[in-house]
């Protein structure tokens, strides 16, 4: 933070002090924000690489005391993480592709001013943002459609979101009409125009929406609990982590009651603890987000700004 005194010779002594105080405030605030945001990850990384029993002695905050991969190894074996990882990736990718294709298609059709059903159809889609029947009415719909216990329950109920619809439609409206006009005069069908003009031209906004949908799908876990909790082969990574978390919460609760003696014996018997397992699981679930984050970051501000423009 440079202070440019040169141009501010007219500053009184008081406001000079104010400037220095303000710079100090900024430095402290930003450092605090960065530390408070990043430290929980670092703390968790350190615990995930520290020998589990040693962690319970406390004091593992900045660097592992006794290095080990045991936490990761045991989580990898016992929770069938590779398979959960596969389900989570499949869900994120398929959701993103279907969302993009369908949302862009309907957004294009409903951006055509001459379409006689444009207004009622648009209203139906937009109002869905505010209508929510609630947990169990939705639950019984899924059951009646026999989607529960299948992979498709992760994808089919969330194929269209009104918010993404607004974002994509706003973008399509910025594409010059003349482009479609000339294609239409050449006798190109609307679907063809959608495929070969609208989709490729909307790439920047589609990248944003795809990332948002994929992250949302990746982060979901409650639908697994609700619909697929009897199907271990359909467990997602977040669901597995949720189970680990609940387990460790319950154990630490009883540990709090028993305190030292009984608990210590328990821990010594095993090489890992719920806490270290939880730390390793948290890191496994975070790393993929960290990998896509640079791409995500490039696009989301653009997407947010487009989305905030209302018609």
């Amino acid at each position: 933070m440079k202070m440019r005194f040169g141009g501010k010779l007219y500053l009184s002594k008081q406001s000079l002090l104010g400037e220095i105080g303000f710079s100090l405030y900024k430095a402290v605030t930003l450092t605090f924000i960065v530390l408070v945001t990043l430290y929980p990850f670092w703390n968790t990384v350190v615990i995930s690489f520290n020998q589990a029993v040693d962690t319970t002695r406390g004091g593992v905050y900045l660097w592992p005391r006794i290095w080990t991969f045991q936490n990761y190894k045991s989580i990898w074996v016992t929770s069938n993480i590779p398979h959960a990882l596969f389900i989570s990736v499949a869900r994120a990718v398929i959701s993103a592709v279907l969302n993009l294709f369908l949302t862009t298609m309907v957004a294009y059709a409903l951006s055509r001013k001459e379409f006689v059903l444009r207004k009622p159809f648009t209203l139906i889609v937009l109002l869905s943002m505010y209508v929510n029947a609630g947990l169990f009415p939705n639950y019984f719909l899924i059951r009646n459609l026999h989607l529960n216990g299948t992979f498709w329950v992760y994808v089919i109920p969330t194929m269209i979101s009104a918010f993404n619809f607004i974002v994509i439609r706003t973008f399509i409206k910025t594409i010059p009409e003349s482009l479609f006009e000339s294609a239409r005069i050449d006798g190109t069908s609307e679907f063809r125009i959608f495929l070969s003009f609208v989709l490729p031209l909307s790439k920047p906004v589609l990248a944003t929406v795809a990332l948002f949908v994929a992250v949302g799908a990746w982060n979901a876990w409650f639908d697994t609990l609700l619909y697929n909790s009897a199907k271990p082969e359909l467990f997602t990574l977040q669901y597995q982590l949720m189970a680990l978390l609940q387990q460790s919460m319950n154990q630490s609760k009883s540990a709090a009651d028993i305190n030292s003696a009984g608990m210590a014996a328990n821990i010594i018997a095993s090489t890992v603890t719920p806490m270290s397992i939880r730390a390793a699981g948290t890191i496994i679930a975070t790393v993929p987000i960290l990998i896509v984050y640079p791409f995500l970051q490039k696009y989301f501000v653009v997407g947010m700004n487009v989305g905030s423009i209302k018609e």
């Binding site: 933070m1 007219y10 104010g18 400037e19 900024k26 605030t29 930003l30 924000i33 960065v34 408070v36 945001t37 929980p40 703390n43 905050y61 298609m105 309907v106 294009y108 059709a109 055509r112 001013k113 001459e114 379409f115 006689v116 059903l117 207004k119 869905s128 209508v131 929510n132 029947a133 609630g134 947990l135 169990f136 009415p137 939705n138 019984f140 719909l141 194929m159 269209i160 069908s189 609307e190 679907f191 982060n219 979901a220 977040q238 919460m249 630490s252 609760k253 709090a256 806490m275 939880r278 730390a279 948290t282 679930a285 975070t286 987000i289 984050y293 995500l296 947010m304 905030s308 209302k310």
Partner: protein, 309 residues
């Protein structure tokens, strides 16, 4: 040519038949939206029945029995208190911290420093609540870093199990929400700030205005309408205190303060199979939401701000 009004056009069906392609591209998706969003509303009938999954919608009708039960249930009163308390904490924290951070970031001259701070502070927004709950319970554990820092600062004498302290729960949820969303929430304020004419700042500086008075007299008035619209719209969501974080961090010790309306619904429905009561609770929430939203929208229009619905 394309802006001819629908009702004055020669023949609706004739025009529609020339627009078959557009119809085929939109109708299936509109039907899909109807099926997944509007059809489940029919399930609200469950709230007026003694619903048994085996009998389905042929279950006996009981009128407003479940609503009467709801409003006389002591637990529901507690649940409403928790929901509203956590909502208000989230609302107030959400606004003050985000506006404060946005004002700070806006004053940072160095582009690189600013974008670094932004990049870091947006990150938690993209994490799942499961990951966040994992991080929170590590930090708040009895030998966690939170206890160490607070002991070092002399605020507490003995390490505490924070998630076992019922009264601390609302604040844990409040600060966790701030941690996750504060950076993300600054985006909209920073966008509003970047629209303020730089000439105003220059003029103020020449007039000898200090930093704080520039913030008070230029920046804050410049983002006032954004703040007002967001505040009003957020009042419309006051029944939504969040679900996942409460579900993930609740335990036997904090149950009296962690149970929100959504958790109440899940508990009655999933654990006890009382779908009728669960639906009544959910329906009550949805109806209050819609009323509040319409009121907020109307109020926003009254104030001369942009209507959001």
């Amino acid at each position: 040519m394309s802006s001819v009004a629908i009702n004055r056009s020669p023949g609706f069906w004739k025009r529609l038949s020339t627009q078959r392609q557009l119809l085929w591209m939109s109708l299936p998706i509109v039907l899909y939206v109807i099926l997944f969003t509007y059809v489940p509303l029919a399930g609200w009938t469950m709230a007026f029945q003694d619903f048994k999954p085996t009998k389905g919608f042929a279950s006996p009708w009981v009128g407003v029995k479940w609503f009467a039960y709801l409003f006389s249930d002591e637990q529901f009163v507690m649940v409403m208190r928790n929901t509203l308390a956590m909502s208000f904490i989230n609302l107030i924290f959400g606004f003050t911290f985000a506006i404060g951070l946005a004002l700070t970031l806006n004053e940072v001259k160095s582009k690189r420093l600013k974008s670094f701070a932004q990049t870091v502070s947006y990150l938690p927004h993209f994490l799942s609540w499961v990951v966040v709950a994992g991080l929170v319970s590590t930090i708040l554990a009895s030998d966690g870093v939170f206890n160490i820092v607070f002991q070092w600062l002399g605020i507490i004498k003995e390490p505490k199990i924070w998630l076992g302290q019922p009264k601390a729960f609302w604040w844990i949820v409040g600060f966790t929400n701030v941690w996750k969303e504060v950076g993300w929430n600054t985006i909209i304020y920073l966008a509003a700030m970047s629209a303020i004419d730089p000439a105003l700042y220059e003029a103020a500086e020449i007039d000898g205005c200090g930093r704080l008075s520039r913030i008070r007299h230029i920046t804050l008035p410049g983002i006032k309408s954004t703040i007002v619209v967001l505040l009003i719209m957020n009042l419309g969501w006051i029944m939504e205190s969040g679900f996942e974080i409460q579900y993930l961090l609740r335990n036997g010790m904090n149950a009296d303060y962690s149970q929100s309306i959504d958790i109440y619904v899940v508990n009655y429905g999933m654990r006890q199979g009382n779908y009728s009561l669960a639906t009544a609770g959910g329906m009550f929430k949805s109806v209050v939401n819609i009323i509040l939203l319409l009121m907020a929208n109307w109020f926003s229009g009254k104030l001369g701000e942009e209507k959001l619905v």
